[in-house]
Amino acid sequence: MTVAIVLLALLGSAWLLAVIEGWMTTGRLSPAAPLYSGLAHLGRESIVPRSPDRVFFEAAPVLLLVVAVLGMAVLPLAPDLIIADLGTGALFINAALAYVLVAVIMAGWGPDGAYAMIGGWRFLGQLIAYSMLIVMPITAVAMRAESLVNTAIVSSQAGLWNIVYQPLGFVLFFIAAMALAFRAPFDLPTAEGDLGGGVDAEYTGVRLAVLRLARLTLVVTLASATTVFYLGGWHGPLFPPWAWSLVKTLAVAVSMLLVGRYLPRIREADLMRWCWILGIPLALVNIIIVGLLILVVP
C-alpha cells in the first residue's frame, strides 16, 4: 500500500513537472500534454543506432529510472509513509544517486556516437563537482540528527528547519542536486548547443519516453531529498504531513526547472574550479559550523 502511494506520488509529481515544463517552453498550460507526449513516443519508432553497445544502450534509461525510484524509496512523505525507512537512509540516497553517473556513462557509451560519448564522459569529469557537494552537506545534516535514518532527520528539524540551521549546506546541496540531475544550467552531458543533445541524442520512441520519465523522476527524487534534509520534510501547520511533503518537493522541483531557464549553461571548467576552490571548502566550513553549533548550543 505504502509502495503504491509513494509511487503514485512520484508519478504524479513527474507529471505535474512535465506540465509545468511544457508550460514554460510552449506557453500553453495543458494537463494532457505529458500523456499525449508519452503516447506519441509509443507511436514513434524506437531506433537502435548502427553499431551500439546494445546492453548499455538498452539498460541506461531503465537504470536511471530505477535509481530515481530507489532514491525515493527511502525518503519519507509522512512519518509512516515511506517504503523503506533504512537505518542508513541518508547514506543509501548517496549510493542510489551514484548510479546516476553509471547510467549516464552507459547512455553515453552505448549508442556509439561522438556527441553522446563526450556527454557521458563529461558527466564523469564533473563527478567531484557535484558528488562531493551532495555527500558533505548530507554529512552535516546527519550530524544534527545524530542519525542516518531519514525519518529521524526530519524529526530533528521539528523546531528549526535545516535551511535556517545550516543555510550554507542547503545552497550547496541545491546546486549539486541540479548538477546531478543535469538540469540547465548544468546540463553539460546533454547540452544542445554543444553536443546536439549529448547522451539523449540517440534515443527515440519508447526508450526516449523512459529516459525522459527517468529524468523527471530524478528531479522529483532530488527535490524530495532537499525537502527531507533541509525543508523540514512533512513539518508544517494545518495541512496533513504528506501534503506538506508534496508541496515542498514540488516547489523545489519547479524552482530547479525555473532557475535553468534564466541562466546560460555553465562552463565546464568554471563548474569544476568553483566546486574545488569554493564549494568543497564551504562544505567543510558548513560541517565545522554545524559541529560547533551542536556542541555549543544544547
Binding site: 514554460m24 517552453t25 510552449t26 506557453g27 500534454a33 500523456l35 499525449y36 507526449s37 508519452g38 503516447l39 506519441a40 509509443l42 507511436g43 514513434r44 519508432e45 524506437s46 531506433i47 537502435v48 543506432p49 548502427r50 553499431s51 549508442p111 556509439d112 556516437g113 561522438a114 556527441y115 560519448m117 563526450i118 564522459w121 563529461r122 569529469g125 540547465a184 544550467p185 546540463d187 547540452a191 544542445e192 548547443g193 554543444d194 553536443l195 546536439g196 543533445g197 541524442a201 540517440e202 534515443y203 527515440t204 520512441g205 526516449l208 535553468g260 531557464r261 534564466y262 541562466l263 546560460p264 549553461r265 555553465i266 562552463r267 565546464e268 571548467a269 568554471d270
Partner: protein, 600 residues
C-alpha cells in the same frame, strides 16, 4: 479523408489495425515537433513564428516528427537533408515552406507558402495527415544514394592499393580490408583508437550528428563486419609503427583467440602492450595527455550553429585540436574578370540578368539579411546607371537597413541563447525579432523600452559574463575584420565584447530610426536602358558588403560581391584551436557567421 492528407509511405509506420493505434495517431498529431532546415534562425528571418503555428522546435532529428524545410536549399544541403530524414523516427513527414522539394527526398507531404497564415494552415493539414495516415499498410524504405557508402578494399600495408573486390594485395599478398570509399587512409598520426574509427565511419557519410538508422541499412551487418576488419588493420599498423614488427610474422600461436581470422588484431602478440611505447609518437594536445583524436562534424544542421554552416572539429577528448568551417549554402559567384554570368544554387540562369531579377536573386540568396543586399544591389545598379542620390529614398532605405540591423542582431541573440542553453534569451529575442522585422517607426518606438531592457537583463544575468569573457579572443594579427566583430575588437575582442557591441548597435540603430524616415524596402528606381559600371558598399548587420557590377542595356552583365562573412569564416580555425569544445562553438557563434553570405 482525402488521400493527400496522409504521410508519404517512406515516412509512415507499419499499420496494425487497433484502437490503440488510433489513439496513438491522435497523440502524434498533437505532438508534432519539427526539425527546421536550414535552421530556426532562417524561419525567424522569414517572419515565421513556429511556436505560434503549433509546432515544437526540435533540435535533433531523433526527436523530430516533421522535417520542415524553409526556402530553397542548396545542392549540398539536399544530401544533408536526406540523411536527416533517414535519421528521423517514423512516422515522419516533410513540410515544405516556400521552396522546392529537394531532389534527394521523396515528395513533400505538405507544402506551404512563406507566411505565418499559410504555415498555420499547413500545420493543421499536417496534424490531420498524422491523425489519419501515420500508419499505413505498406511502408517503404527510404533510400537515397546519399545514404550508401561504397565499400572499397585496401591493403593495410600499401595504401596505394585500392580495389573494388576483396582479395589479396598484389604487392605483399596480404588480405585486403574493407573501408568506406572516400575515406582517406586511416591516418595513424591522428586516429589510433578503434572506437573512434568507428565513430568516424559513422560520421563520414552522415554529414550530420548521428548515425543512420539500423533498419535503413541494407548492408548493416556487412558494415559491422567491415569495421572489425578495419580495426584489425589499423591496430596492426600501430604495432608496426612502434615496435617495428613485420606484419607477416605476426603469429598468434599460443593465443587462443577463436575469432582470429584476420591479420593480427591481437594486442597480446608480444605479451603486455606498453601504452608508453604505443603512444609516445602521438601528437600531444594542450593538456599534455595523449588521446585519440576524433574528427566530428558539427552541422550543417546543428542546434548550436547557424544552419548551413558545417564545422569540422578534430576533438581530443573534450578539447578541440583543430577545426575548420565551410558553408554549404554559400553563394556561388564568378571569379574576378571572368566573363561568365553568375550561376547560383544549380539554377541555370541566362547569361545576363534583368536588373530587377538580379536584385530579387541577391536578396533571396541571403535570407538572413535580405534588405541589406537588396539595398546594396539597388545602390550599385543605380550608380552604374548614373543616377544621383535622392535624399528622401536614401533616408527611407537607411531606416530599413537599421531596422534590419536590429532584427538581425536579435536573431543572433536568439541563436546565442540556443547555443548557451539560455531559453529565456531565445524566447525573448525571437519574439522581439518577429515584432521588429516589419515594424514601422511608431511600432519600433513602442518596442524601444523592451529592446533596451534586454541589455539590462543580460548585464544582470549571472554566469553570462564568466561564460563569455575571454572566449573567442581574436588573434592579434587578424585582418579583414568588419562590422560588429571589427568594432568589438577594440575592447577585448572576445565574445562578451561582441555581445555588447551588438547590443550597443541595437541602441544606436534605435536612435537613427527615431530621427530618420519611415523605413521603406529599397526599390530600384527607373534606370531605363543604361549601361555602365557601378560600385556600392553597404554596412550590413554582419559588416561591410561590397558589390561591383557591370550593367549593359539595363541588364546586369557581371558582378562581384565581397561580404564580411567570407572573411570572418577564415578566422574559425584559429579561434577554435586548443579550446574546449563548448568554448570553441561559442567562439564561432559569437562571430555571427551567416553561411549564406560566404562566397565560395
Amino acid at each position: 479523408m482525402s488521400s493527400d492528407l496522409t504521410i508519404n509511405s517512406t515516412g509512415a509506420r507499419q499499420k496494425r489495425p487497433s484502437l490503440l493505434q488510433k489513439l496513438v495517431s491522435r497523440a502524434l498529431a498533437r505532438n508534432l515537433s519539427c526539425l527546421i532546415v536550414p535552421g530556426p534562425e532562417v524561419a525567424l528571418a522569414h517572419g515565421l513564428d513556429i511556436r505560434a503555428a503549433g509546432l515544437r522546435i526540435s533540435t535533433t532529428p531523433r526527436d523530430a516528427s516533421v522535417l520542415m524545410i524553409v526556402g530553397d536549399i542548396s545542392e549540398k544541403m539536399c544530401d544533408a537533408v536526406a540523411v536527416l530524414y533517414a535519421q528521423m523516427p517514423r512516422p515522419r513527414a516533410i513540410l515544405l515552406v516556400g521552396g522546392q522539394t529537394p531532389s534527394t527526398l521523396p515528395g513533400a507531404d505538405i507544402s506551404s507558402g512563406l507566411s505565418q497564415d499559410q504555415l498555420t494552415e499547413a500545420v493543421g493539414r499536417l496534424e490531420r495527415a498524422f491523425a489519419d495516415g501515420a500508419f499505413v499498410d505498406s511502408p517503404e524504405e527510404f533510400d537515397s544514394s546519399v545514404l550508401h557508402a561504397r565499400i572499397e578494399y585496401v591493403c593495410p600495408m600499401h595504401p596505394e592499393v585500392v580495389e573494388d573486390e576483396p582479395g589479396s594485395c598484389p604487392k605483399c599478398g596480404m588480405d585486403l580490408v574493407a573501408r568506406e570509399a572516400g575515406e582517406s587512409t586511416p591516418d595513424h598520426e591522428h586516429h589510433h583508437d578503434h572506437e573512434h574509427h568507428r565513430h568516424e565511419h559513422e560520421h563520414y557519410h552522415d554529414q550530420e550528428q548521428q548515425s543512420h538508422h539500423d533498419h535503413e541499412h541494407h548492408h548493416d551487418h556487412q558494415h559491422h563486419h567491415d569495421h572489425k576488419h578495419q580495426h584489425g588493420e589499423s591496430d596492426d599498423h600501430s604495432e608496426h609503427e612502434h615496435s617495428g614488427h613485420d606484419h607477416g610474422e605476426h603469429d598468434h600461436s599460443g593465443h587462443d583467440h577463436e575469432e582470429h581470422d584476420h591479420g593480427g588484431h591481437d594486442h597480446g602478440a608480444s605479451g603486455f602492450m606498453s601504452m608508453i611505447e604505443v603512444t609516445k609518437d602521438l601528437p600531444r594536445s594542450a593538456d599534455g595527455l595523449q588521446m585519440d583524436w576524433l574528427e566530428v562534424p558539427f552541422g550543417p544542421v546543428f542546434p548550436g550553429l547557424p544552419g548551413g554552416l558545417k564545422l569540422t572539429l578534430t576533438l581530443d577528448g573534450d578539447g578541440v585540436t583543430e577545426g575548420q568551417a565551410t558553408s554549404l549554402v554559400g553563394m556561388a559567384t564568378e571569379g574576378e574578370g571572368s566573363e561568365e554570368s553568375q550561376e547560383s544554387e544549380g539554377s541555370q540562369e541566362s547569361e545576363e540578368m534583368d536588373a530587377d531579377t538580379f536584385i530579387e536573386h541577391l536578396a533571396s540568396a541571403i535570407p538572413l539579411a535580405p534588405v541589406s543586399y537588396r539595398l546594396l544591389a539597388c545602390l550599385a545598379i543605380e550608380q552604374a546607371a548614373g543616377l544621383s542620390d535622392d535624399q528622401a529614398t536614401t533616408q527611407a532605405r537607411n531606416s530599413a537597413l537599421e531596422r534590419e540591423r536590429i532584427a538581425s542582431h536579435l536573431g543572433w541573440l536568439a541563436q546565442s541563447g540556443r547555443q548557451l542553453g539560455f531559453a529565456w534569451l531565445t524566447q525573448r529575442a525571437s519574439t522581439l525579432q518577429l515584432k521588429v522585422r516589419d515594424a514601422g517607426r511608431d511600432r519600433i518606438a513602442e518596442l524601444e523600452p523592451e529592446l533596451r531592457t534586454l541589455g539590462t537583463r543580460l548585464e544582470r544575468t549571472p554566469l553570462l559574463k564568466s561564460r563569455l569573457k575571454g572566449i573567442g579572443v581574436l588573434p592579434v594579427d587578424s585582418s579583414d575584420l568588419r562590422g560588429p566583430v571589427a568594432r568589438a575588437a577594440e575592447d577585448g575582442g572576445d565574445a562578451w565584447a561582441r555581445l555588447w557591441q551588438r547590443l550597443d548597435e541595437i541602441a544606436a540603430s534605435l536612435e537613427l530610426l527615431k530621427s530618420g524616415e519611415e523605413p521603406e524596402l529599397p526599390v530600384l528606381r527607373d534606370i531605363g536602358n543604361a549601361s555602365g559600371t557601378g560600385k556600392a558598399t553597404v554596412d550590413t548587420p554582419r559588416g561591410e558588403a561590397r558589390l561591383s557590377l557591370k550593367l549593359e542595356h539595363g541588364k546586369v552583365k557581371s558582378y562581384k560581391l565581397d561580404t564580411a562573412c567570407s572573411h570572418h569564416i577564415d578566422l574559425v580555425p584559429k579561434l577554435v584551436e586548443g579550446q574546449e569544445l563548448g568554448d570553441a562553438l561559442l567562439a564561432v557563434g559569437s562571430l555571427d557567421l551567416s553561411p549564406w553570405e560566404v562566397i565560395s
